[in-house]
């Protein structure tokens, strides 16, 4: 009975939402989109929001990667929130996995191939992760995937050396400093230009490494933060081993 009810509800929900999505054209011409309206200046623009991003994005933000322009600059405040969400997740896992008297778990050594391989790869993976977030404003990628790549290099170490332990204090400090960098960049924008998270550094030449103002700074902070947070989550989940 319960299953039938659940199934009926699921099918009903599917139909209701499918009918709504059926009324929305996908992949239509961008010029068909409705023009946006600025509620503060009380004026209607002559183009739609996505069109504005694609047309003026480079001028507005200095970033070549339009996804980055939207994520870090136009909607940077949301990204600050998302960073906080990840921070919360890692803090929450840390607080729930916290045990006063630690039970040590016995573990076996892994084999020589994994140990040697991970030693070789560790540095390269970190390098690749750093490349992804440092070039976030130029090429696909950014702070979140870059940080995840860095965390995966630590995950490799955990797999290869069962007794390996990343130092919690150092992780916490790098996490906090990266978060503080983001907030301080935002507050500096407020002080210098009157807007929180204002892009106050010179834009430079687009497509070059030192361009797009504060975007690379924020992305490096996010990369470090995501990397240390995900490593912290992995570490908390692994528990104490012997």
């Amino acid at each position: 009975m319960k299953r039938v009810l659940a199934l009926t509800l699921a099918i009903l929900l599917f139909i209701v939402f499918a009918m709504a999505f059926a009324k929305i054209p996908f992949g239509e011409k961008m010029s068909n989109y409705p023009d946006y309206y600025n509620p503060i200046e009380n004026q209607t623009s002559n183009m739609s929001l996505p069109q504005h991003y694609l047309t003026y994005g480079k001028n507005d933000t200095g970033a070549t990667n339009m996804v980055t322009a939207v994520v870090v600059d136009y909607r940077g405040f949301d990204t600050l929130g998302e960073v906080t969400v990840l921070f919360l997740a890692s803090t929450g896992v840390g607080s729930l996995m916290y045990v006063e008297d630690k039970v040590k778990r016995k573990v076996r050594r892994s084999n020589a191939v994994v140990e040697t391989g991970s030693k070789l790869l560790f540095g390269f993976i970190i390098l690749f992760g750093a490349y992804i977030f440092i070039h976030g404003h130029l090429t696909p990628g950014g702070g979140f995937p870059g940080g995840a790549v860095i965390a995966s290099s630590f995950l490799l170490l955990y797999l290869a050396y069962p007794k390996f332990h990343a130092e919690h204090k150092k992780l916490n400090v790098s996490e906090s400093l990266a978060g503080l960098t983001f907030v301080i960049v935002g507050l500096l924008g407020l002080i210098i230009a009157g807007y929180f998270l204002y892009n106050f550094l010179p834009f430079g030449l687009p497509t070059y490494l030192f361009s797009a103002g504060v975007i690379p700074v924020i992305y490096v902070a996010i990369g470090v933060k995501v990397g240390s947070e995900l490593t912290g989550i992995v570490d908390a989940m692994m528990g104490v081993r012997e």
Binding site: Y36, G92, N172
Partner: protein
């Protein structure tokens, strides 16, 4: 001039700072949290004075909306933000009672819960609202399970499941709106909501309504409430009733009035509100466990607020906002008192608490809080219920008013029973310590003050008519 964004930036700054301070001294992290919430409450108070004339828009990143994100604070948003931060400050004093490790992480989670709830109230961007909803709910999940016992895990697990479904619905609603209007700014959406396909519009509204209904403890999405309130640490139960719940209901009001510009009677909302009221009050009457009783009572009160919003006349919505303020103060007080009673009786059953509230430092605030929640004059809770009733009455919804009154009588019955037991002559009386009675007394003073001298609140609530017609 106070920038609304500071109310979000400062708590974030302190939350990111606290692990570093925690390396040096754990005690100072606790004081830092008290300082941060006090600072926030002060800023919110100053902001309230500022927005009285006209709403404040804080453009983030220097991009005009809807290109970038904008915070939109009117008088109503400012007063809810002020109450949230004020109660958060008072509860942060009570937080000193929490002994369980890891206390640094606890403090950070608490501060971010406050930040998320404040952000939900201040933001003027639909997707930003979703981000703050996520911040609030993820902080809530970890805090709900902080005791790490069976009750805590059960509650938190239920909350995670229902909360994630709720967030998914919010996201679906946002997707539908964005795919039709290509904008995320609330006022921009409001200006062009008429051009949406009617079916898509209704589905989008329902999705958002159900999604925020989880935080607003609306029936039938509130099965997590009793377990979470019961299993969470005492300060967190108090905080849940006054921070995320109020932010969720304000988000609901934003969806109904600011974005979708519904001005007339909303059957759907009123019926959901009524069901919530009855579900909460009737089950609360049968409860023997104190925190569960308060949790169900909280559901009932939230239902009354939802009803007030649904009736949609100026008077009823004024009542709903008054009720939000009164409930935030009253429930926080009762949960703190409940924490003390449970500690004193070493049991969470009401029948074991005979005479435990006979110490005046606990007893008098407890009495004030309970009377205010019951809706007795001259306490804060009276005006809220009265306005909702009058709002319904003037429009001639007699059946709804009768049901509302019946639920209120049930509420009076179980609170009276509870008061009788805790003031009965019983065993020895335990004296509370300063971290318990200072918050209790502060909240009681506020409740009496608002009840006896409601003029400032009523002056703010005058802006309700502008809010209903789609203002900030």
């Amino acid at each position: 001039m106070i920038r609304p964004v500071l109310l979000i930036a400062f708590p974030l700054f302190f939350a990111f700072l606290s692990p570093i301070i925690g390396l040096w001294s754990k005690k100072w992290v606790r004081y830092l949290i008290i300082f941060a919430t006090a600072l926030n409450a002060t800023l919110a108070g100053l902001l309230l004075l500022e927005v009285f004339q006209h709403p404040v828009f804080d453009i983030i990143g220097g991009f005009q909306p809807p290109l970038g994100i904008v915070l939109m604070v009117g008088p109503l948003g400012a007063i809810i933000a002020f109450i949230i931060n004020l109660v958060a400050f008072i509860i942060s004093i009570y937080n000193l009672k929490v002994e369980k490790e890891p206390i640094v992480r606890y403090s950070m989670l608490y501060l971010l819960l406050v930040m998320g709830s404040t952000g939900m109230v201040l933001t003027g961007d639909l997707f930003n609202l979703f981000v703050f909803l996520e911040v609030t709910s993820i902080a809530s999940y970890s805090l709900a399970a902080y005791n790490k016992d069976k009750k805590g895990f059960l509650g938190a697990m239920k909350y995670v499941i229902i909360g994630s479904i709720g967030s998914t619905f919010v996201l679906l609603g946002i997707t539908l709106i964005y795919s039709e209007l290509r904008t995320l700014n609330m006022l921009d959406i409001a200006a062009r909501i008429g051009t949406m396909d009617p079916y898509v519009k209704i589905i989008a509204f329902t999705s958002l309504f159900l999604g925020f209904g989880v935080e607003a403890e609306m029936f039938p999405l509130n099965t997590w409430v009793p377990d979470v309130y019961d299993g969470a640490p005492n300060p967190i139960s108090a905080a849940f009733a006054s921070l995320p719940a109020k932010a969720g209901i304000f988000a609901l009001a934003r969806v109904i009035f600011t974005m979708f510009s519904f001005t007339n009677f909303l059957w759907f909302v009123v019926i959901m509100g009524l069901l919530t009221v009855f579900f909460g009050e009737l089950i609360a009457y049968t409860q023997k466990n104190l925190k569960r009783m308060l949790a169900y009572s909280s559901i009932g009160q939230m239902g009354m607020i939802i009803m007030g919003l649904g009736i949609g006349t100026t008077l009823a919505v004024e009542g709903a906002f008054y009720q939000m303020i009164a409930h935030a103060l009253g429930k926080a007080l009762l949960f703190i008192a409940a924490g003390f009673l449970i500690y004193a009786a070493k049991s969470d059953k009401i029948e074991d608490m005979k005479g435990m509230a006979r110490n005046p430092l606990v007893g008098i605030p407890l009495l004030i809080g309970a009377l205010s929640i019951m809706g007795m004059p001259p306490f804060a809770g009276f005006y809220g219920k009265f306005f909702i009733l009058m709002g319904g009455f003037s429009e001639g919804y007699y059946a709804i008013i009768a049901l509302f009154l019946a639920a209120s009588i049930v509420e009076v019955a179980y609170y009276a029973r509870f008061i009788k037991i805790v003031f009965e002559k019983g065993n020895r009386v335990i004296r509370p310590d300063a971290a318990t009675y200072i918050p209790l007394i502060l909240l009681a003073i506020l409740i009496v003050l608002i009840g006896v001298y409601p003029k400032p609140i009523l002056a703010v609530l005058q802006h309700v008519s502008a809010f209903i017609t789609g203002g900030a």
